[in-house]
Symmetry: C2
Subunit: 137 residues, 2 copies
DNA sequence: ATTAATGCAAAATCTTTGCACTTTC
DNA sequence: GAAAGTGCAAAGATTTTGCATTAAT
């Protein structure tokens, strides 16, 4: 994991074409410093609030979307009605615990996928997502 | 594809522990007669309305959920904020066209998946879903 | 100074629920 | 006639948007 120096966050945002506002710096630090994270907008908003960092919920939503468009985050779809974001943008797969709603990364090269058929005419494969659903045993 | 006889629908529902009401028969016919289908609750509601078959949207939602619990349908999660149902309950995978929102089945045995890692402690694999995202080429 | 971002409240989705009425068993 | 299902309108939950204010270039 690249432990990004504090000052680097500003450049990270600038390089992504995003103005380094206080709110975005706070979000970027929480998300991109340290290890891979899976979270909903609410999760992040609550976490920041807990630390006394106030960023409005709509700004959290708006910026998570901008971060995602800029390639800083990735969206993971595993449950209808909830959006998860993933700070790991390298292609990879997931375990999804249906009971708790927790996600766990599976490195892409751990799973062998072969013989993916040709897509329908006029379409190109943009990505392959594997979700391994798990339940309490 | 098993073309279920008209009368069979009643038994299908009964066998699933669901009272064969007019609304459920109408839904079951639309969904389970003929080939595999992918649809949202809104899709189905509009389709029925088009044919002059009135079933309230809440009843469509409620019954799609009951059908799913009963194993008559399956839920497919590919896009946050939208629930897709699939009348094909046999395990299989999907192409998802991000542009149009269309789903296409991929038979389970077409794709070879190997080396799925052990799930985290205390968890058991309940299913493996592969979504092949495709875009206009 | 210009342009973009924030925060709030309001609106837009999508889905579930409470309850009186109707249908099935 | 008891139990379950329906339909409506209302409530929930999640996400986006309009707009005045504030901050970044």
């Amino acid at each position: 994991m690249t432990q990004r120096p504090f000052e680097g966050m500003k450049n990270l945002l600038k390089d992504a074409g995003l103005r380094p506002t206080r709110q975005r710096l706070v979000m970027a630090r929480a998300l991109l410093e340290g290890g891979n994270r899976h979270f909903t907008p609410e999760d992040l908003h609550a976490e920041l609030a807990n630390e006394g960092l106030r960023v409005s919920l709509s700004t959290v939503y708006n910026n998570l979307n901008k971060f995602t468009s800029a390639g800083l985050l990735r969206e993971v779809v595993v449950e209808s009605g909830k959006t998860f974001f993933d700070s790991n943008t390298i292609p990879h797969h997931h375990f999804f615990d249906e009971g708790t709603g927790s996600l766990y990364d599976i490195p892409e090269d751990k799973i062998l996928i072969k013989n993916v058929p040709e897509p329908p005419k006029g379409l190109l494969i943009s990505g392959v997502d594997v979700v391994v659903r798990v339940v309490k045993s």
